[in-house]
């Protein structure tokens, strides 16, 4: 083997080792989830008899039907509304230009560094006062507010990168503001919008602290939040916990595999533009 073939082999050896390190834990819980419930599970051991019943058992005892429903309802509102508000605001800030636009952009960027912990305390007591705790509406609006800084910033920098002539040409043709947005900008912006949508979906699905605080009613909690409390109840039943974890992971992994390019682009470029 010559030198360059050697280094190539070494490179791939290194990458593969890392890939194994990343994937090993998942193989571990996937194997654990098919062991008989309540039993001891050794690392990487194949079960003597494969038992799929953990999934049904976890689904039942963790009330995951309800939890998944809550997660879905919240995501179904949060994703389109965030994308829509972000696109409108990004358009106003980058193309239309508003009085005080610089300050507003800055206010949104500041939101990127504010941790949820800072918001959640007052948010809970404010929403309790107006009866929006234990309600989908409260969580949906709070999540939109939480994801808007990134959304606005993302759409704004995307629209700013569109060649100016395109917008001017449409204006010369007499297009009004909303026509420029819907007929000129949006049709060429689907990749950016898709990326934003999948990121917001992921953040909404994985949101934990906010939901834990806002939803005292176990039936209204989302899947990850329910899972977090499920651990407290079934802490030692590894097969059952593994099955429950896989149930909660499954939807986000499916979305990730379908849109993996969007995820990677969003998380890397989104940050790079900052």
């Amino acid at each position: 083997m010559n030198r360059s073939a050697m280094t190539t082999a070494l490179r791939y050896g290194l990458l593969s080792t890392l890939a194994v390190l990343v994937l090993a834990p998942f193989v571990g819980i996937a194997l654990a989830s098919v062991h008989p419930a309540g039993g001891q599970v050794g690392a990487f051991s194949l079960p003597e008899q494969w038992s799929w019943s953990n999934f049904a058992l976890a689904w039942e005892s963790g009330n995951f039907g309800r939890l998944m429903w809550s997660s879905a309802v919240i995501a179904v509102f949060v994703v389109p509304l965030t994308v829509c508000f972000a696109a409108l605001a990004g358009y106003a800030l980058s193309i239309l230009g508003v009085w005080g636009g610089k300050g507003i952009s800055l206010a949104f960027v500041l939101g990127l560094t504010l941790p949820v912990e800072l918001l959640v305390i007052a948010l809970y007591f404010n929403l309790r006062e107006v009866g929006l705790t234990n309600s989908y509406t409260g969580v949906i609006l709070a999540e939109i507010a939480l994801f808007l800084p990134f959304g606005v910033y993302w759409m704004q920098s995307h629209f700013a990168s569109v060649p100016r002539e395109l917008v001017e040409a449409a204006r010369v043709d007499g297009a009004r503001d909303h026509t420029v947005l819907t007929r000129v900008l949006l049709p060429i912006s689907w990749p950016a919008i898709t990326t934003l949508a999948v990121l917001v979906f992921m953040w909404s699905w994985n949101q934990f602290l906010l939901v834990l605080v806002m939803m005292q009613d176990p039936d209204l909690r989302t899947a990850p939040t329910g899972l977090g409390l499920f651990v407290g109840q079934y802490g030692t039943d590894i097969p059952l916990l593994s099955a429950a974890s896989l149930i909660v992971i499954a939807p986000i992994v499916v979305v990730y595999l379908l849109f993996q390019r969007s995820f990677v682009n969003g998380l890397t470029q989104g940050a790079v533009k900052a």
């Binding site: 358009y91 230009g97 790079v272």
Partner: protein
């Protein structure tokens, strides 16, 4: 459509547009602004206000001045949690960045075939709910979990532990979960950054007799300045604000060894009803985040 252009006159320049249309532009901004101001800004300001109060969430609040802040900085429980948060930065931020740089140096962005697959795998931990990640690692770290089995296999059976329950190792064990989560992100960021560096720079350095190490030090590393900054910002925020992972793995234990600010904010505000203290802790946490993020931005700013 020439008439349209005539009517609009020089408004098409976009810079000098009629006052009315500038006002109309505000309508586009309004939905985002209302939700953001009403739910994020108003809440953040509310928490800052609470931090000066003595309030249990039920009885009428009384003014506390800076007492809550003194508590955060002097009470060992609260100050300890902040220190733990800072320790986690080593594991969530410094080690992953080092790992990412090392691998980028070794690979030098020269891997093309199969890169999509590796990128997908390395990024996976970023996408998953941290609760599920925590549950998985709880089991890996357990008495008879994968880590201890692996140690026994390589003849280190003597040092096996229930890692997350160990007084001395719990925080490190917790931090290493963060390392596992964040290394992939850093690596993908750096590798895509390294591919942007002009190959002729490497060639020129090689002609000048620079070995691989010096080329990495003087060509690759400066070229990755921006990416290192981004990775540092993302991972530092993740370390300081971590909650989900700690909540399901150790919940602060054993004996408070893994208390982190977010966990105490939650516990103080929603279990113990000391809202003033919780708010002050949240405000201090936010200030630390802002100071560190600004420092990182300043340090990694590209020289003009």
């Amino acid at each position: 459509m020439a008439s349209g252009a005539l009517l609009r006159g020089n408004a098409t320049a976009g810079t000098r547009r009629p006052r009315r249309s500038r006002l109309r532009a505000w309508l586009y901004l309004l939905p985002a602004l209302v939700v953001y101001a009403g739910f994020a800004i108003y809440s953040a300001a509310g928490t800052v206000w609470f931090s000066f109060l003595d309030w249990d969430g039920v009885a009428p609040p009384t003014w506390a001045g800076l007492a809550n802040y003194t508590r955060v900085l002097t009470e060992p429980l609260l100050a300890g949690a902040i220190l733990n948060g800072l320790v986690l930065i080593v594991f969530f931020s410094l080690i992953p960045i080092a790992v990412g740089l090392l691998l980028t140096g070794l690979l030098l962005g020269r891997v093309r075939t199969g890169m999509t697959f590796f990128r997908t795998v390395f990024f996976l931990p970023q996408v998953l709910p941290l609760v599920a990640v925590g549950i998985t690692w709880r089991w890996l770290y357990s008495d008879d979990g994968m880590i201890n089995r692996a140690l026994e296999t390589v003849g280190l059976g003597a040092i096996t532990h229930a890692w997350l329950g160990d007084y001395h190792f719990a925080l490190i064990a917790l931090g290493l979960i963060g390392t596992w989560c964040m290394s992939g992100l850093c690596m993908v960021l750096f590798m895509s950054g390294a591919q942007r560096i002009d190959p002729s720079l490497h060639e020129a350095a090689a002609i000048d007799g620079a070995g691989p190490l010096r080329r990495f030090r003087y060509v690759t590393l400066p070229g990755l300045r921006r990416e290192v900054g981004i990775a540092a910002v993302i991972t530092t925020i993740a370390a300081l604000a971590s909650f989900d992972l700690v909540f399901v793995t150790t919940n602060g234990g054993p004996a408070g060894q893994t208390n982190v600010p977010a966990l105490l904010v939650y516990r103080l505000a929603f279990n113990e009803g000391t809202i003033g203290g919780a708010s002050a802790l949240a405000v201090v946490l936010t200030l630390i985040v802002i100071v560190l993020v600004s420092a990182i931005r300043l340090l990694t700013r590209e020289a003009k």
